[in-house]
Symmetry: C3
Subunit: 151 residues, 3 copies
Amino acid sequence: MTSLETPALDTPLAAVSAELYFQIQQFYSVQMRLLDTGQAEAWADTFTEDGVFHQSVAPALRGRHDIAVAARRRIDQLVTEGRTRRHWFGMLEVHLEDDGVVGTSYYGIAMATPAGGQLQIYASTEATDSLVFADGRWLVRHRWVSHDATV
Amino acid sequence: MTSLETPALDTPLAAVSAELYFQIQQFYSVQMRLLDTGQAEAWADTFTEDGVFHQSVAPALRGRHDIAVAARRRIDQLVTEGRTRRHWFGMLEVHLEDDGVVGTSYYGIAMATPAGGQLQIYASTEATDSLVFADGRWLVRHRWVSHDATV
Amino acid sequence: MTSLETPALDTPLAAVSAELYFQIQQFYSVQMRLLDTGQAEAWADTFTEDGVFHQSVAPALRGRHDIAVAARRRIDQLVTEGRTRRHWFGMLEVHLEDDGVVGTSYYGIAMATPAGGQLQIYASTEATDSLVFADGRWLVRHRWVSHDATV
């Protein structure tokens, strides 16, 4: 194989294009940077108006307002502690569901570094999202994050 | 540059398309999730019938049967220990070899979290794969994983 | 959505194609493997002749010569210590700037493993690059790396 031709997958993932996969990757990079830089309200705005954010370590948050309030509380805590937090997503798998919904599965790790201190990577997670496209951008309709420590 | 035009690379990587790169990324996500969720036989089935899985810390495994047996043994051990394991691949480089073979190089990290305990990231590795496309899906013909601790 | 159609983004990122995103990803994989395998001069050659490499923990390096000298010194130190270093980039965001310049933002982690010892992931960073395309390949014109410990 020395040309650009790429074989046609014969799996449930075949309908996903590189273009879609890249859009989701880029969406996640932008989305999580909003959270990591302390923009709680802009982060909540990447969910649908009635979006759900549910982690295995906390009750489900329903709607942008509740998602923003919880994010803001955590961000304020990190600021007080003088810690910079980062979320990494990896091992992304994208598939198509019905009615224009895009489903994803991915791993996440969360880390924080205190000013002048040592990096600590404190959580490994597995997540699934339902994403919808509206008004020219991707939005999270439902996110489920399972923390490995709670499995 | 404000349009969609992308310049043409003049390197050995030029023949690889975004579509191929994305297929391999997605393949790895699906493949390693099989292993991390304890599906030893399904994981072994992502290798060719005579596939080789060789790590610098163990003798080479040859063929799906031996690959599945070794994976099953390790999974049983993790279940007994109550630990959830995750493999992350990153810094992926994809190139074309002869006769339809796709070669890849990538980094890997392995981590595990005990139930109710602390995440431990215990290994950094560098790997190279030879991948072939058969029956509508990608398969690993040969995987070499060099653990940084054994370099 | 069961076909290949991908919706059209209506954001500043819309002009970036999967093809460009993939080229940058692949570039970073190749670039950082050069550094991690001790090829200081080849690594410096992935910057423009007058390229700048500026980290929050050190004075800015200007031009390939200075970049190579600093990289060589650090590599020699790692060899003396018997440690294998790895750089991972993640959460990549690619956008187009004026005059054919591609801007990126991404997270990085740096880790090292001593021979026969334990992996240590010692730094989390956030970086922004200005990339230009010349002579059939991508080059870094400016890299700014902010270490979380120095924020």
